[in-house]
Symmetry: none
Subunit: 421 residues, 2 copies
Amino acid sequence: MIEIITIGDELLCGRTQDTNAGMIARELHTAGFTVARITTTGDTRDAISAALLSCLRETRFVIVTGGLGPTEDDLTAEAAAAAFGDTLALHPEAFAMLQRWLKRRNRTINPSQQKQTILPSTCTPIANPVGTACGFIMRHHGRHYLFMPGVPAEARAITEQFVLAYINEHSGRKHIIRSKTLRVFGLWESVIQEKLTNALNPDADVSLGFYPHFPEVLLRLTAHGPAAAVLDERLERARNAIVERIGEHIYAEGDESLAACVGKLLADGGTSLAVAESCTGGLLSHLITSVPGSSAWFERGLVVYSNASKTQLAGVEETILARHGAVSAATAQALAQGVRSCAGSTIGVGITGIAGPGGGTQEKPVGTVFFAIAGPDGCSVHQRCFSGTRDQIKTLSAFTALDLLRRTLLGLNIDGQGNFL
Amino acid sequence: MIEIITIGDELLCGRTQDTNAGMIARELHTAGFTVARITTTGDTRDAISAALLSCLRETRFVIVTGGLGPTEDDLTAEAAAAAFGDTLALHPEAFAMLQRWLKRRNRTINPSQQKQTILPSTCTPIANPVGTACGFIMRHHGRHYLFMPGVPAEARAITEQFVLAYINEHSGRKHIIRSKTLRVFGLWESVIQEKLTNALNPDADVSLGFYPHFPEVLLRLTAHGPAAAVLDERLERARNAIVERIGEHIYAEGDESLAACVGKLLADGGTSLAVAESCTGGLLSHLITSVPGSSAWFERGLVVYSNASKTQLAGVEETILARHGAVSAATAQALAQGVRSCAGSTIGVGITGIAGPGGGTQEKPVGTVFFAIAGPDGCSVHQRCFSGTRDQIKTLSAFTALDLLRRTLLGLNIDGQGNFL
């Protein structure tokens, strides 16, 4: 088992966000190792010593960052020596390493750099490819303690160039980890959980994690074992079992955003898009244009906030607004058809609704949104009712529009989209 | 002493960066409390129980986030019951709380939501203002354990609205804390630090914290002591010292967003706004319409991605596009004047630029953006060159447009805006 300890008062008062622990954890996870615990402690010698000595019983590797700099509050080497019954001394190997590092840069050693070579006498130094503070290894009660500076670039370089190989060599391990991410929109976490009850064969030895990422949910399948081919086959079977239950809600695998997925479908089909949005206020256009290269398929967006703009820009007839209201199926349809026609695009999307907090009525409460997708084969109109804050309703509406586009382009059943029930 | 425990396999494998611990630590530090240790542990019952039971001897408050969701791998309540010799049961108070929460949103309880009300029988529930999973408090061996969901928005809301006051009340502390937030746009953190060197009298006993919140920086002034009036006076003096140095870059105090600040200026002046944006792709309109009631001053937005849309919608002459290019001062000006004229609004804003990653040239590299503000007194045009990712350049551009509007409406010097140098 592996633990990470990060040291620094600036982490405990929230002034600096600790990114080292996450970086090391990610590198180790990708390499197939599991981190059991991360501890952040303060700068005092006692706190550091206590953290070093209170590892979990099964821990074999402890990765420590921080407190190796040249200033007086850098006490990690002193604390390690105290914890493990060692003494500090100028370490000849570390000193020679530092001299070589400086010489390559035509610099000479100064007193505060020299302090960084005063290390526990029994340690083994670790070269720092990008800075003057070297790391070091200590062994205690069968554990390997690997100490690194807290400067993120230095911690990263030492992790990549030394720590991973060291742990791999000393772990005697045989197995690896493979994982797969499925991206879901349109169902809340609790509903997915219900739909996937007993979907995975417990003997299949694949674990399933849920990661809500509003308004989406990411599903992560993970398998451990000795042979990559076996794991990939297990993951594929687990993936298929999930796709069988909620396949149409899975818009992509891996890192692809919903807007990128829609962009790819549009680009592949040589299809162009224009949108006229009211309650989403530009967010749909923003998501679409967040994808690099989107000018290839996105022609224009109209943010038709006033009634005059709906009429002038998208040609929505005043009689429609008067008879059905600006928030209505008829207006959504007129917006989609109007923007498609004025832009000369293959597809037009219209959105109109009430994002709140004001503007709701008994008949059309806050969260009521109408969507229309107009294309060469006609126009479909859809109504949803969301709950949440103004920002949440805007976000749910923009993502719903993207998902309606995805379903339309793929020929999927749109009524199956669900309404976050 | 206070400890924080964050729970989640996704934190230990580095897939999710833990921001809750830092957020809680920062809030506590600002309120004058010290966090002694942060521990991150995995999702298993044993790991959670072990973490709860291995606090430091002097710890009186333990804040725990994560593992309170509806799925099978949310085991924190179970682990807490096991660790403290309690049993799980449907908690009537939590259940009633959830019912009320859902009723206000016209939703009914589903089985997995109901699971979230199965809590240790001796706990006291904590209301969650923004989600369905409630928090809870347990007492054990003289310690207070405060459990919260791991969803960052929920953890933040419960920390701000409950945890700080709870710890203040139960810590037996006598003094109070007052703070004030100043919101800055247009200067990076390091530049603000330089400009504010020695601005605060060290005897004034007011601490100044920097919280970068891309693309803005929040400055937080905090004072501790027994008497509110004295603290408020100290804060006011410190605030004035800062305003003297960087006043024009401070757009608001407290929670007001830049878009809300601009909205207020527009509403106060009975001024209406329309925008034509190219490289920001709808983000400017989205920010403007994120402010409740923005339909009172926002008339329309044009997302003029294609050249045809620039010409058709905003009346940009083809000769301007041909002679100066779509990314030019002339095009920005034509967009601002065109959208102002077609919308009949008091002010028109035009933005055109290169968000990247492609599309840059030697002469107009990625990040080059032109802004124009057209009003009754004419049109001003401004060029900026940003660096960053596509999303960062879009964000910097949209915020810069809002800040140009703010400066124009207030009659401030626009050249003083700075260019993030």
